[in-house]
């Protein structure tokens, strides 16, 4: 089986990997690069637990082939904190206990950051629709949405 050689940038680091034609980016992240923060929930793009950014665009890494990462810039949950310093969203999720079992949390955080990067002042409806592709089977949506709204307000205050 001939492997494809892929050069990409992951969380700012030039990264190379080998994959076969049916491996997804999620497979590569978790199994080859040991970046296990992105989770596999459904494997069919319904749950959002594997959310990543590709060239700034929010996608499900289970619905993208590893080979497609060639030349792309990928951001995963592992790149969200700066060293030991958690991102404001991560801090707020801890503070407000906006998680229960935690499986959906990396995807929710990546998706929420993507929202706030493009819309620093979302309405609750906008947050809920943006995160409609991130399923939480503990059904902790209310705390998640409140945490995102809180962080948005704080980040706007800081930016002022």
């Amino acid at each position: 089986m001939s492997k494809l050689h892929v050069s990409t940038i992951i969380n700012g680091e030039p990264t190379e990997f080998l994959c076969d034609g049916r491996q997804t980016v999620l497979d590569v992240l978790r199994e080859q690069l040991s970046l296990t923060g992105s989770k596999e929930g459904c494997g069919s793009g319904d749950c959002g637990a594997c959310s990543i950014l590709v060239d700034g665009r929010l996608v499900c890494s289970c619905l993208m082939l590893g080979a497609e990462a060639e030349g792309k810039s990928i951001e995963t949950i592992e790149g969200m904190a700066s060293g030991e310093e958690l991102h404001p969203l991560q801090k707020k999720f801890v503070e407000m206990a906006a998680l229960q079992c935690g499986i959906c949390t990396p995807g929710v955080l990546v998706a929420s950051k993507a929202l706030l990067d493009r819309n620093p002042d979302p309405t609750e409806t906008e947050v809920r629709y943006w995160l409609a592709g991130n399923l939480c089977r503990c059904t902790g949506y209310d705390k998640i949405v409140r945490a995102v709204m809180d962080v948005a307000a704080e980040m706007r205050e800081t930016a002022r």
Binding site: R22, E68, G133
Partner: protein, 288 residues
């Protein structure tokens, strides 16, 4: 599990050649939101995957003299951010943007939605109403097809071996035109249409001078309902004209009974959505 050959050519000619050489086992990859799901489920067993996202013509939106050409592999998210398209074809854009979640929008394309050939594909009734044509390239060169002629049945297309849908062309719009797409689902989003209805109108004052109606999820194919359009053209979109158009939609329905809706329900809703989508399209037409 068999190996899959992955190719990401820069030109449409190369893509066609690779696909044609794959002898029926090739699949085109745009956003992958259908293909990768089918691959995982074992429904699709391609020997070769041809990723078309390095082909400029398939990944860009261009405007020439008021007509838009949308690359078949442009993502829903990119289409939704295109100001000029949103202004002139809000119905087409909202139909595309209804497909899946934010994550799915980051990848899913109108070309994939069309070629997946689901009768419930959201973008297709809006494209049919818009009078969109698709440009197809294959081993024998290029051809154009009206968008409603691409699907052959659920999951099947009229594309020949090696043919690829390259782009959609939305025609130049006369002044006073507007379009709309509505679908019925039991929740507010992230579901598959029970019925979908696209309407595109041109208004001269209060009189409708041109109309096209597309209906989805009520037959094996997305339908162009010409009788509904005829009922609207020449009218002032009064109750009688709207009822005649709704009746034409109901008459065109050949739906199935399934968990999403019964035959009776889908048929009734087709008429309801026609009236509501027409009202929105007319409002938009008047403000243009």
């Amino acid at each position: 599990m068999t190996d899959i050959k992955y190719a990401a050519p820069d030109t449409i000619e190369e893509a066609v050649a690779i696909l044609a050489a794959a002898n029926g086992s090739g699949r085109v990859l745009a956003g992958g939101t259908d293909l990768l799901v089918q691959l995982r489920a074992g429904i699709a067993k391609p020997g070769t995957i041809v990723d078309v996202k390095k082909i400029a013509e398939m990944t860009t939106i261009t405007e020439t003299d008021g007509a838009f050409r949308i690359g078949a592999a442009v993502s829903g998210a990119v289409i939704g951010e295109h100001e000029a398209l949103r202004t002139l074809w809000p119905g087409v854009v909202e139909a595309i943007n209804l497909i899946g979640s934010t994550q799915v929008q980051g990848r899913a394309s109108p070309g994939g939605n069309l070629c997946n050939a689901s009768p419930a594909a959201d973008s297709v009734p809006a494209m049919v109403a818009a009078g969109a044509t698709v440009t197809i390239q294959g081993p024998d060169g290029r051809r154009e097809l009206p968008v409603e002629k691409v699907a052959a049945g659920p999951g099947r297309t009229n594309l020949a071996k090696g043919e690829i849908v390259v782009s959609f062309t939305l025609p130049k719009r006369p002044k006073g035109s507007g379009d709309a797409y509505l679908r019925l689902i039991p929740r507010t989003e992230m579901d598959i249409a029970v019925v979908g209805c696209g309407v595109s109108l041109t208004m001269d004052g209060d009189t409708c001078t041109a109309a096209r109606v597309g209906l989805g999820a009520v037959a094996p194919l997305v339908l162009l309902v010409e009788d509904a359009a005829k009922a609207l053209v020449g009218s002032k979109l009064d109750d009688a004209a709207l009822e005649a158009a709704a009746e034409a939609c109901r008459a065109a329905c050949k739906p199935i009974d399934d968990k999403r809706g019964t035959i009776v329900y889908r048929t009734k809703i087709a008429g309801v959505l026609l009236k509501r989508a027409t009202a929105i399209a007319a409002e938009r037409a008047r403000s243009h």
